[in-house]
């Protein structure tokens, strides 16, 4: 089955990004496809390569990047939401790309299921 995921909150502040990541990982491990993860609202902050958590904490941003690399998950950051919050190509972490809201609608159309994580 083809899943689309929406992440509406930033890393560390809210559990949404952790939940979305663990869901995505479990979906892939169980033979499903996660076609796209769309980051919206403060969720765009998950894409900042300037993120530096303490060493004994999980690295939420790198975790997404690794997932994208290993499983070809398309990580899309909403351009309007990103620019509002200072996320641009120059500070975008590996595996993410910035694009329009149409990518979210497209995920809704193309995926069998769309699962949203937020506040």
């Amino acid at each position: 089955m083809k899943f689309g995921i929406v992440v509406n909150e930033g890393p560390y502040q809210h559990q949404a990004s952790d939940s979305a990541y663990l869901f995505t990982k479990a979906a892939i491990e169980n033979g499903h496809e996660v076609w796209r993860v769309f980051f919206y609202h403060d969720g765009v902050n998950n894409a900042s390569k300037l993120t530096e958590p303490p060493q004994d904490d999980r690295h939420i941003v790198n975790r997404w990047s690794k997932l994208a690399e290993e499983h070809k998950v398309d990580l899309v950051v909403c351009v309007a939401a990103a620019l509002r919050r200072g996320i641009k190509d120059e500070n975008l972490a590996q595996g993410f790309r910035i694009s329009g809201l149409g990518q979210l609608v497209e995920a809704g159309i193309k995926c069998d299921r769309l699962v949203t994580f937020g506040d």
């Binding site: 979210l104 497209e106 949203t116």
Partner: protein, 121 residues
């Protein structure tokens, strides 16, 4: 794009206190531009998004409420308000800046079940 899905946007948050209502409206407009079957549901504090007479100069924030009136230009005409939420907030249909269909909770639930994609921000 040939495939048309039924998209429902569930709005449960008041405007201005957080950005969700505004950014949700942006998705609604884009979805309509993709020629999808769009409906909006206003529940709980989400009904405050439709209140007439929003004056935002004093908080130096853009008043985005006129955009709800522009929805019909995008053929988005299915706006549903939960009666219970409206009553609980001392509001009536005359308080809203656009025409809406007022439904009971049960009718809202039945509509939700008919959708292909439900988005809530």
């Amino acid at each position: 794009m040939s495939d048309v899905k039924k998209f429902m946007f569930v709005n449960r948050k008041a405007p201005y206190g957080t950005i969700y209502a505004l950014e949700s409206l942006e998705v609604v407009l884009i979805t309509a531009a993709f020629d999808q079957d769009v409906s909006l549901m206003f529940l709980d504090d989400g009904v405050y998004q439709l209140k007439k007479g929003q004056q935002t100069k004093g908080i130096e924030t853009k008043n985005f409420s006129p955009a709800y009136r522009a929805l019909e230009d995008y053929d988005v005409e299915k706006l549903y308000v939960d009666k219970e939420s409206m009553d609980a907030r001392g509001l009536t249909e005359e308080d809203f800046l656009v025409g809406v269909t007022v439904l009971s909770r049960a009718e809202m639930g039945a509509l939700m079940d008919e959708q292909d994609v439900v988005l809530s921000f």
